[in-house]
Amino acid sequence: MATSTNAITLPDDIRLRGDVVLPDPVVGRELLVRGPHDFHAVTELVCKVNEAPLKATPKPFLFGLALAASGLAMFGGYIGYLLWEGPGIWGNNNPVGWAWDIVNFVFWVGIGHAGTLISAILYLFRQKWRTSINRYAEAMTIFAVIAASSCVALHTGRVWMDYYLFPIPNQMGLWPNFRSPLEWDVFAVNTYFLVSLLFWFTGLVPDFATLRDRATVRWRQVFYGALSLGWRGSMRHWVTYEKAYQILAAFSAPLVLSVHTIVSFDFAVSQLPGWHTTIFPPYFVAGAVFSGFAMVQTLMLPARHWLGLKDLVTAKHIENTNKIILVTGSLVGYAYAMEFFVAAYSGNDYEGFTFLNRMGGPYWWAYWIMVSCNVITPQLFWFRKVRTSPTWSFILAFFVNIGMWFERFVITVTSLHRDALVSSWDYFVPVTEVFYLVGTFGLFFTLFLLFIRFFPVIAMAEVKMVMPQANPHWEGYGHAGEQHAPAVAASGGHS
């Protein structure tokens, strides 16, 4: 039996392997896992991140976690202050009733969209490269939606009345107004959060089982044992599991498009010039995917560098991600232009004024930050050198993150600050809001760093599945099998 496996089984110790180059399944296509890695090597690469003893946690990691956790602690204090004083601690005025609270909300929900796009839409389109990045993109989605919910739940003023948003039977016989876009938003964001969480957890279970089986310390055995639900990799289970995964993906794909569509309805269903446009749903979805992929790059590039995952997250992944940033960035640029065209073509004075005011009014600086970061920056990805370079990708993705925050600021604040009555015109200046934004980043990064430390950051089972060796017909097994399975061709139809 040993002879049948020697052809493909590499030594367990990664240093003893030498330069074994595995054949390429499709000629000319780069392998998704770089280097001479077999299944066990993938397990080792990913698990080593989680399996370092707690005391051996790298110092820079602890520093990052401390920084993020202090941001989170500050956020806790800020929420207390907000609850005590009310939204008067913000610079919101009349007519600018929505400002950073909604800007932060839309910003964070948008970021979440890339995770679902990677995990669901790329899955349905059989984009195998997604397997190396889907796990932390999904984690990013969940934490971003938590950050978004913390913004939108806290902006209501009397936060303790938030349960009115849900259809809970009450003594007044009142129900929420299901015709209101704000109520649609409640359902969209909550559904999105729950479905993303279920999808993420379903994908995690087989990998939790890997960590459980490798655990040597009691708390790990119990922790991963509980999370893995007793998963034993039974093929009978995999059949149902894969169906469930497909169904979750099939529902998540339209869900992710619907969520930002509904977020855009918060604006588009109103009659305010600058908001009341039919282009908003696709424009918001493109922007969400754009900002989300930029955040994926922001998180992925340092992670692959410091966690030693460069063989699993290769230049190909960076390039593909950048291509999506380029496409969606161009879509967003097109939407900006189209908004102006529609405003001009409508012949409506108020529409025309709103857009000219965006460009040259008191908030001209926000508009031009938005345009330069979102429209000009991604165009550099036309150059192959730029889009395969981790450094360039990180810098440009950072600008996109900034630009997309400003996009939401431009949409929300500049449309509001010039009301129909000139006497109502006002200028919005933030007061304490910057702590609000920093606080959500603290929340997000605390959760994300804890995730990196304790959860498998790469979907091991899925990566193994897309390696050439995973295919039973892989040529490495071809002649090896013949010696002990002569009857196969007659029985199974697998030759």
Binding site: M1, A2, S4, T5, I8, T9, H40, T43, P167, G173, W175, N177, F178, R179, S180, F187, A188, T191, L194, V195, P206, A209, T210, R212, D213, R214, L229, G230, W231, R232, G233, S234, M235, R236, W238, V239, T240, Y241, E242, K243, A244, I247, L248, F251, P254, L255, I262, F265, K464, Q469, A470, N471, P472, W474, H484, A485, A487, V488, G492, H494
Partner: protein, 178 residues
Amino acid sequence: MSAPRLWGVLAQYENPYTITRACEQVRDAGYSEWDACVPFPVHGLDRAMGLKPSKLPWIVLAVGIAGSSFALFFEAWAMGTAYPMVVGGKPLFSLPAFVPVWYEMTVLSSCVTAFLANWILNGLPRPHHPAFASKAFERVTDDKFFIMVEASDPKFDLEKTKALLTFAGATLVEELEP
């Protein structure tokens, strides 16, 4: 019960190719109480094992349709009957405005069903399994492939089953206690 009781036999295989061939042989030998455990779903292994497609999609379809109908009914009832109120000049049954919540509830009920049905149909969570006693089985979630045949199978015969599994290319064969 006398001596050590026997739950079944566990055999280890090294790669997707040998496990697929071995599963075909176990299937063709007519076993029914057996299973293959693999680190990732091996393409075509369900056919090599002679497994039927999962019932899960039908359950999701049924609950999804029920959840979807309930959501629309509830919206119409809450807005039109329980507390009728005209908002924005829309009729009491204003279908277009009901669509987003209706849609989200369809997705929610289907996805929660898919999630729960997956674990329930698979009999998970299940904290213990006889195979967990095997040291070799720890690599089932890593890079090894296993077949286990239960002693309760009508065709089970310790020596014959072991011989079948070994001949099919097993690198290790173990007996499991319950």
